[in-house]
């Protein structure tokens, strides 16, 4: 595609706008709500798993994906575009970082990399912008827990708590009232579920809602025991049962 087209399909309008990127934002805002909340001891990512039919096997699709053991990502917008970005981020975290420094990239570096990929799709020949906004939550030793949003334009912002997609404006107002500096992870999960409840149309249970958590290192998820100085991954998905338990407590 890109080699046959030497010109960009995203060009300026007389008013100075890049209309293709505006349209990409429309694709995002038509997508299902996703949100992220940064707590003092972790980050929560949450989204609704909207199925068009009851015959769909919901468990086979994962909307919240991990990129490195300590970084996870969720989206609003076009699922296929998200899938491609996840694959690129996972690969690049190894080729452009781990295979050079033998450690996983810090969250901000990973975010900048994904943002660059999304920007390139607004300026390269023959391609269209990605129709997703991403929420990236992660942990690294120097910066602690962080939450970033990446837009189709390639802009990225750090957030304390935010929402993207269809019900994002009302969700953000909701979060603004409830977010505090000393929120703990469990409180953040509670608030995430409350916020999602406002925008979810159908039934809300462990199979229609996905929650990802970046929290304390889970050594039991390593897959082996007895090796010193190897912390477990911080990214973890809550099982449908764990989500149902918390929904019952709402």
């Amino acid at each position: 595609m890109a080699d046959r087209y030497s010109f960009s399909l995203t060009t300026f309008s007389p008013s100075g706008k890049l209309v293709q990127i505006e349209y990409a934002f429309q694709a995002v805002n038509q997508g299902v709500t996703s949100l992220g909340i940064k707590a003092s001891n972790g980050v929560v990512l949450a989204t609704e798993k909207k199925s068009t039919s009851d015959l769909i096997d919901a468990s086979s699709l994962s909307k919240i994906s991990n990129i490195t053991p300590d970084i996870g990502m969720v989206y609003s917008g076009m699922g296929p575009d998200f899938r491609v970005l996840v694959d690129k981020a996972r690969k690049s975290s190894h080729t452009n970082y781990k295979r050079i420094y033998n450690e996983y990239p810090p969250t901000r570096i990973l975010v900048q990399d994904v943002a660059r990929t999304m920007q390139e799709a607004t300026q390269s020949g023959g391609v269209r912008p990605y129709g997703v906004s991403l929420l990236v939550g992660g942990y690294d030793a120097d910066n602690g827990f962080s939450l970033y949003q990446v837009d189709p334009s390639g802009t990225y912002f750090p957030w304390k708590a935010t929402a993207i997609g269809k019900g994002s404006t009302s969700a953000k107002t909701f979060l603004e009232k409830r977010w505090t500096e000393d929120l703990e992870l469990e409180d953040a999960i509670h608030i995430a579920l409350l916020t999602l409840k406002e925008s979810v149309e159908g039934e809300m249970n462990g199979n229609t809602v996905e929650i990802g958590v970046i929290g304390p290192a889970s050594d039991h998820l390593l897959g082996f025991e007895g090796v010193k100085n190897v912390p477990g991954p911080r990214f973890r998905k809550l099982s449908p049962q764990e989500i149902d338990d918390r929904l019952d407590a709402l």
Binding site: R99, I100, Y101, N102, E103, P106, I109, Q112, A141, D142
Partner: protein, 205 residues
């Protein structure tokens, strides 16, 4: 005109002590038997990692520039200093990139991790295999002599001043038994809060 690692000559050695590390090098630059310079240091500092580079002098110069460039960009991108362990892995991947046309060098890295305070030393072969050591690492044309000196003189948990004496004696006596090393020596003693660089008074032959 054959073995690139022994045309110019030179030696480096690093040792770990109690919450400190020391790294030293000779000052000779030669063309086989002819000594051209007695002011060619082989230790370079990148944030809190010290790199000792022996071998073909052109590669020593080029690599010190390459790492200066890579570490500067790391500082700008990551907005933080590079740690010795991370720098060592950067050295390893840089060298392996040239697996089938290598740099003819024998690097060693020494430093103290600014977060954990742990001393770190390691050596590499010319294609980047990391040799992690808890006691000492050696490199250069007098490395057989350095191995012998370090193995006998080194003991664990040396304080900075004692580590300095130990490393200096290992370096001096090894380079005096090597025709291609010598003509001066520099020793860095690194602790958490300061670095002391000493120029040793040595035999000038």
């Amino acid at each position: 005109m054959s073995d690139p690692s022994s045309i110019n000559g030179g030696s480096v050695v690093a040792m770990a002590g109690k919450d400190c590390v020391a790294i030293g090098c000779d000052m000779r630059l030669g063309m086989q038997a002819l000594t051209i310079s007695n002011d060619f240091p082989k230790i370079f500092q990148f944030n809190n990692a010290f790199l000792g580079l022996t071998g073909l002098a052109t590669d020593v110069i080029t690599l010190s520039d390459v790492f200066r460039y890579k570490v500067n960009l790391y500082n700008l991108r990551e907005e933080r200093k590079i740690e010795p362990e991370t720098f060592a892995n950067l050295v390893s991947s840089t060298l392996y990139e040239k697996r089938f046309g290598p740099y003819f060098v024998g690097p060693i890295v020494a430093g103290i991790n600014s977060k954990s305070g742990k001393p770190y030393i390691c050596g590499f072969d010319l294609i980047g295999c990391i040799n992690f050591a808890k006691d000492f690492v050696v490199g250069g044309t007098s490395s057989p002599q350095l191995f012998g000196m370090c193995e006998s003189l080194w003991e664990p948990d040396l304080e900075p001043d004692d580590l300095f004496e130990t490393l200096s004696q290992a370096l001096l006596n090894a380079q005096d038994r090597d025709a291609l090393s010598g003509w001066g020596a520099i020793v860095y003693v690194i602790t958490k809060d300061k670095v002391v660089k000493r120029l040793l008074k040595t035999r000038q032959d």
